[in-house]
Symmetry: C2
Subunit: 205 residues, 2 copies
């Protein structure tokens, strides 16, 4: 074994990278290896920027002090934007839900990110969610409406109901995003629960 | 806008990380965002090690000077292992194929990684693969057998045939890994090509 050989016991960085990636949720061993190989094969410039960006994420990303969304400043871009309507708060479960609504461009108010939904079987109660911080935001009389935009499933509906019960007594209007047939979808392919909800929530024309 | 707000035009590191990850092959925009969010949510220690490992990969990973496999030293662990049988070379298309064979623990010889297979339609000819470096390794008389372990599909078979044609005249035995029914599989569910190959390559009992 010459001086240029791999020293024994030296951890292979490819294997180490693959093991690190496989610890991310939803990434199995094979996906982790494929990802690690893609990164190894990428040009050096890409690898330098990727490592640097992860380090920036580590040092700068935190929770917005108002809406609890992920942010790289004390206040996120939306909460610090004076043009947003401060009377309406849209409550979502996860940062990616906030992103989806923001992409639609329909909503001009502020957000509040719960970071989960009520799920007693998984041990997630109100204390595990950003619900107290939501109540704090309703203390002055700026906010007049809270729109609950959790997903229309058992946990999302239960979370919406819970929020409605504790927010309504404060004199703030609580609404829920509509459920029903997807626009452009075919009625005959809609699942039973969606059809049920679409009929129940019918509105006058 | 106070001093603690996000400065305008400051690129959001989450968005930047997501954009970088979406450039990896096989990672769409949604997977990239999910991955980026997982990394953002991971503990700081994880992020520090991940960034550091990518940087180690960038500075240390190269091609083994003998077998052309990915390596973090001039010679990979297998090529520098004196206990491996130096008379047999197993030729594979990709580093992950080498890993799969190595995991099986059956093979004790050396490897050669082509980094692809012949694919004229995609512009991949012999010059694009590590074939010349394979021929160089056969110059002295150490190697007596080359096992071609490319996948049993059109490109893999064509590559095996090509290697056989240029290596056989050097007096080195060229063999091909067997194709046929997967061990533990059901004959009735085997596809036609596999069944065809399994019958053609039948051997005496």
């Amino acid at each position: 074994m010459s001086e240029r050989d791999a020293p024994p016991g030296d951890p292979d960085p490819l294997r180490k990278l693959s093991a690190l990636l496989s610890r991310l949720p939803g990434i199995g061993e094979k996906s982790a290896l494929r990802l690690a190989l893609s990164i190894v094969r990428a040009d050096p410039e890409y690898k330098a920027v990727l490592a640097e960006t992860i380090d920036t994420v580590r040092t700068t990303m935190r929770s917005c002090e108002i809406c609890r969304d992920l942010s790289h400043a004390a206040r996120c871009g939306i909460c610090s934007d004076a043009r947003r309507d401060r009377a309406t708060i849209c409550v979502v479960a996860h940062p990616q839900d906030r992103m989806a609504i923001e992409r639609s461009g329909v909503f001009r108010g502020l957000y509040h990110v719960l970071h989960g939904v009520l799920d007693p079987l998984a041990g997630v109660g109100p204390a595990e969610l950003q619900i107290n911080t939501l109540l704090e935001r309703l203390r002055d009389d700026t906010v007049t409406e809270v729109i609950v935009a959790t997903s229309p499933n058992v946990e999302g509906d239960a979370t919406a109901l819970y929020i409605s019960k504790i927010v309504s007594p404060l004199g703030v209007r609580v609404t829920r995003i509509a459920s029903g047939l997807a626009v452009g979808g075919e009625l005959e392919y809609a699942d039973l629960s969606t059809l049920h909800r679409a009929l129940e929530d019918r509105r006058p024309l």
